[in-house]
Amino acid sequence: DVKIGSIVELSGPGAAAGTNFRDGVKLGFEEVNAAGGILGEKVQLLEYDSQTDPQVSRAMVQKAIDEGVYVITGTVYSSSTVVNMLVAQQAGIPQFTGSEAPSITQKGNPYIFRTAFGSQKGMPKVAKYMAEEMGIKKVAIVWANTEFGKGGYGAFMEQAKIYGFEIVADVPTEQAQTDFSADVLKAKNSGADAVFVYLTEEESARFLREAQKQSIGLPMIGETTLIGAKVIELAGDAANGAMGHVGLTADAGIPAVSEMVARFKAKYNYTPDHNAIKGYTSAWTIKCVTEMIGSTDRQAFADKMHGLTLTAAECPGVLMDTSWDDTGEMSRESFFVVVEGGKQTVKAVLPPN
């Protein structure tokens, strides 16, 4: 058997993201197994709960390594990944993380690979679109004051400098915040041309509803977490008009993705978010790349990954053509979408950068 370790946040504040990621991984490997496994061997998935606690995540990665895993998937929360990737690195185990914090691929760790862009890849695309297509000058930014939010915030601020946005309101918010009236009010009264929202899904939904209540009257721009299917489900018609940049999305209108989403829904009975897709694609990537190198050699695997472009044609499970550079950062096409009538509508396809 090929042992794969899944270490994600199954409890604690990160449980929603972690569970999605884990279920994506599980679905991926089930299909892999159904398709004959990796190099003819069945995949055995060892699951660990990091409890959204970096210290525990470190222990769990250690444990997975002690148990002889071939590749590790997870963790999603950057604060955990920064710690446990050191352990995996020491042991020379390739690791697919769901984290988006820029710093992760900037540490020169040759074993870490992303399953979605780091925010430093996504932000330039959004900022460029905002400046060039929408002609925005003044921006109010509302962001989650967590390691997740801060990563995006930092990346956006860098772009804001480049494109000369004036930040007229800078509003950090708390994790699991429920009352967004003050935040909406601040953004509304700031005289901004647009509000950039970088919150997790639920908070985004609450923000959108409050914005609707106070009739904010400004375009709201964000990332997947502002306009994902989950947000639309939660915010209802308050989500209409929100727009933003999405990487791999269930609503991208790509058949492979829609089919995967349908299978996922059938199996787990809920709509997967981008974390689930991250997990799913990482499972297939592991299969395809291992079969390319022809053995379960960790070093060879990591070497092969660097600079690799995996097309959907040769490995359908990655859903879209994807490339990794030599830091483990990935890139692929992405989309600028607007929510209209409770549906994501793709406004533009943004090329990989």
Binding site: A15, A16, S181, A182, R206, Q214, L234, Y270
Partner: protein
């Protein structure tokens, strides 16, 4: 000025929700001297009962609410009392506090395992109409929440202080040994307390969830805010929960705008510490009397 008005209105709206959650604390304290660290989860859970009624059993909204109420009375009321509180009352507070912490964990994890980790939309109880008062918006929902929490709290206050049953409940809490000797049915009084608490939690849950969205982890933040509200208002007066809740709601909003968004959570905490130090019985609470 409009901004200020908006903040006050929104603060009151949020505060009425905190008050609803906080009143459960004061009730349990007054009627059983128990501190329920799972109170936030108590408010989180009934929403999922409603959702189960609607999505799994396919019932319409109001029957589902009724279904949730019955389930809550059974689980949060009867079972909590019989299985946890009753056997533990003689042991003093600390083990009970730990047990309620564990219970909170149990409820949270169960919802996550059996219903899902992501937030769920929840049907609104009140129409979504928004009124504009001098440039500030307030929704029917906000007004409804405020009205319900005021009614609930006033009713409870009257019940505890003006009825014999209410006083028996207090006696049971303050000195169960004496209550028993006088022939008060101690177990039944404790049961009443928990049933009322369960009913309140259900009401709170149904009112809160359209705004908060139903999520397994909602109890964490809500529980904390409710604690603070209960203490600031005064633990031994039911109406203290209302005062505390509204105050925290307004202060939270004001400090987010006028002080610092990054430290907005600190303001209620500092208020809490100050209140405890200068007026430990809370704003509306009364002192507990002689100690020597």
């Amino acid at each position: 000025m409009v901004e200020f008005l908006q903040l006050i209105l929104s603060g009151l709206a949020a505060g009425s929700i905190y008050a609803l959650a906080a009143v459960g604390f004061t009730l349990l304290w007054q009627a059983s001297q128990t501190i329920n660290f799972a109170q936030g989860e108590f408010v989180m859970l009934p929403a999922f009962f409603v959702l189960v009624g609607m999505t799994v059993l396919g019932m319409p909204m109001w029957p589902s609410v009724l279904f949730a109420l019955v389930l809550s009375l059974l689980i949060l009321g009867v079972m909590f009392k019989k299985l946890i509180v009753e056997p533990m009352l003689p042991h003093g507070t600390l083990p009970l506090v730990i047990a309620t912490i564990a219970l909170g964990l149990l409820m949270k994890e169960s919802v996550k395992e059996f219903y899902g980790a992501t937030a769920q939309p929840f049907p609104p109880v009140f129409p979504q109409t928004v009124y504009n008062i001098a440039g500030a918006s307030i929704s029917v929902q906000d007004l409804g929440n405020l009205a319900v929490s005021m009614l609930a709290i006033a009713g409870l206050q009257l019940f505890l202080n003006r009825t014999r049953t209410g006083r028996c409940m207090q006696a049971t809490a303050q000195n169960p040994a004496v209550a028993e000797i006088l022939g008060v049915n101690v177990k039944r009084m404790v049961m009443y307390t928990f049933l009322v608490n369960a009913a309140l939690a259900t009401v709170a849950s149904v009112l809160i969830s359209p705004i908060y969205l139903a999520k397994f982890s909602n109890g964490e933040t809500l529980g904390l805010v409710a604690f603070i509200a209960a203490i600031v208002g005064g633990f031994n007066q039911i109406r203290g929960a209302l005062a505390g809740g509204l105050l925290i709601g307004v202060i939270d909003n004001l400090s987010a705008v006028y002080i610092s968004a990054a430290y907005r959570n600190a303001v209620p905490l500092i208020l809490l510490i100050v209140i405890i130090l200068v007026r430990p019985q809370g704003l509306l609470g009364t002192s507990e009397g002689r100690t020597v």
